[in-house]
């Protein structure tokens, strides 16, 4: 799935859908989510106080351990046992150094150069496995919170009754001023499922650029 291959915003008036598309587009850009979202469909019906958002996410990374970001081995220098970390994915350096400093103390963690960190330990072989398996980041969790942020920032003002869910790669969000009907949430789920199976055509791409008049969601 390509990034933002479907981006469709619908409302009862075309001009309002166009403005809403611009708002959601700005929020996606602010939260740097354009790479994570595959397909998105939003429906705003102000007359019925209803807002629905369905998103198909692209493959999100699972939990990142220290072993995923660097190779580890042991060495012995100046009378100290040392775990040596050779960095391969610099992206997670802040999380890695924070974990090492918090666990071993700053005096025991020595960054030799940009790509190498030495950790002075009592028993290098035992510590090696502990460090290797420690989870330092969870991109999926931060993606989840960012998706909620996207929905909350996009929703019309006053729609304070909200529901969101992230199941697999489908994120859905429904909001209203009134009580949320279970059928509305089901409708969001169906939107996400339909979005996933929708065929991408050249005509469809053109159509997505111009917001269309909303087909009103089925009455309860």
């Amino acid at each position: 799935m390509e990034a933002l291959e479907i981006f469709r915003v619908e409302s009862t008036r075309e001009s309002e859908a166009e403005i809403y598309r611009s708002i959601i587009s700005d929020v996606i850009s602010d939260l740097r989510l354009s790479g994570a979202i595959g397909r998105l469909r939003a429906v705003v019906i102000p007359e019925e106080s209803r807002f629905a958002l369905a998103v198909n996410l692209r493959d999100a990374e699972s939990a990142i351990t220290v072993g995923d970001t660097c190779t580890l081995d042991t060495t012995f220098e100046n009378g100290h046992e040392i775990v040596r970390l050779s960095i391969e994915r610099e992206k997670y350096m802040p999380e890695l150094t924070t974990y090492l400093w918090d666990t071993y103390g700053r005096t025991k963690v020595d960054q030799i150069n940009r790509w190498t960190i030495h950790v002075i330990v009592e028993n290098a072989k035992a510590e090696l496995e502990t460090i290797r398996s420690h989870v330092i980041a969870n991109p999926f969790l931060s993606l989840h919170s960012n998706m909620i942020e996207l929905a909350v920032r996009s929703v019309p003002e006053g729609f304070r009754v909200r529901y969101h869910s992230l199941e697999g790669s489908d994120f859905i969000f429904a909001a209203s001023e009134e009580m949320l009907e279970p059928a509305w949430i089901e409708e969001c789920r169906k939107m996400a499922a339909d979005l996933k199976t929708e065929e991408i055509t050249a005509a469809g791409r053109e159509k997505d650029k111009k917001p269309e008049k909303a087909e009103k969601m089925k009455e309860v």
């Binding site: 309002e16 929020v27 920032r153």
Partner: protein, 312 residues
């Protein structure tokens, strides 16, 4: 016939700008505010119409500019239904900024219970605060249905003229109950309003607000305040030196029919009431001096000539 005044903004270098102020005072004009930024000075002033060309000539000698600022001396409340991200900082702050260019002083007001379609209320305190201003600009959102059918409840109890801004461009003020002017193309936005279409909407809004203020001034001219508000402001500044200790950005704000003095009411209202004019009368003879809803400041509302019986 009395002197007719026109508002101007002088923009030029700090060098010798004192001569501009001296000339202004000699010809009977009033300095409303002066802001010095490094080597540049911006001065809002009201100038006698017949003598405006004298200042213009002097400004040209100092390589400065005299720019007509039709909203100088107008205090505008920019009201958004809430202080939530749907309205702030864009587009309500952009609207306020745009209104300050032609000289208006703006106050941003976010209502406590103005959100959405179902709640959409204002309370007594908010109404009184908005009514202290010369006019109110309501910054509304994108949806036509909300603006026409739901948001007009926010205008209940507002006595000052109401300008409404919103997204739909095909709306007119007649369709919105309670609105005097409507400006489209300024609905909800998640980015700063700086695209050509957005800038032209802001210009359109400024023009419509200027026209509205022009009509308000015309109506006021039929029964003018007993003393020119700018003159009352000058006398307060000269006779109440504590004004200099006020930390507010503009310690005195000129309004169409009065002045907001940003000093504590309990401590200073008697001093303000006792401000004297050359003609012998006190400010309290000509104006109502009341406690403002804004931070317990002092609100001076000059009574019209018909009520006082004379004009100075």
């Amino acid at each position: 016939m009395g002197t007719v005044y026109e508002p101007y903004l002088y923009n030029g270098g700090v060098y010798k700008h004192g001569q501009i102020i001296e000339l202004l005072e000699d010809m009977g004009g009033y300095l409303v505010s002066k802001i010095v930024t490094v080597a540049e000075v911006n001065m809002d002033m009201v100038v006698p119409k017949d003598d405006a060309h004298l200042i213009d000539e002097m400004a040209k000698r100092f390589l400065g500019k005299m720019i007509p600022s039709p909203l100088t001396g107008v205090e505008i409340a920019v009201v958004s239904p809430t202080l939530a991200s749907q309205h702030l900082p864009h587009s309500a702050c952009d609207i306020a900024e745009s209104l300050r260019h032609p000289g208006a002083k703006t106050t941003m007001i976010g209502l406590a219970r103005g959100m959405g379609r179902r709640v959409s209320l204002n309370d007594d305190y908010e109404r009184r605060l908005i009514n202290e201003h010369d006019l109110a600009v309501f910054s509304l959102g994108t949806f036509r249905d909300c603006i026409v059918n739901k948001k007009s409840r926010l205008f209940e109890g507002i006595d000052v003229p109401i300008v409404v801004t919103g997204g739909p461009t095909d709306l007119t003020a007649d369709e919105i109950p309670g609105a005097d002017v409507y400006v489209g193309g300024l609905g909800r936005s998640a980015h700063r309003l700086r695209n050509p279409g957005e800038m032209s909407s802001l210009d359109d809004m400024n023009q419509k607000v200027c026209d509205l203020v022009g009509r308000m001034r015309e109506i006021q001219a039929k029964d003018p305040p007993a003393v020119l508000p700018a003159r009352a402001m000058k006398e307060i500044e000269d006779q109440v030196p504590e004004i200099a200790t006020s930390l507010a950005p503009s310690p005195m704000t000129l309004k169409l029919s009065g002045v907001r003095v940003k000093l504590n009411y309990d401590r200073y209202h008697e001093k303000i009431e006792n401000v004297e004019f050359d003609e012998g009368m006190k400010l309290s003879d000509l104006a109502d001096i009341t406690r403002s809803k804004m931070n317990d400041y002092i609100l001076v509302t000059i009574r019209p000539k018909s009520e006082v019986g004379y004009e100075i």
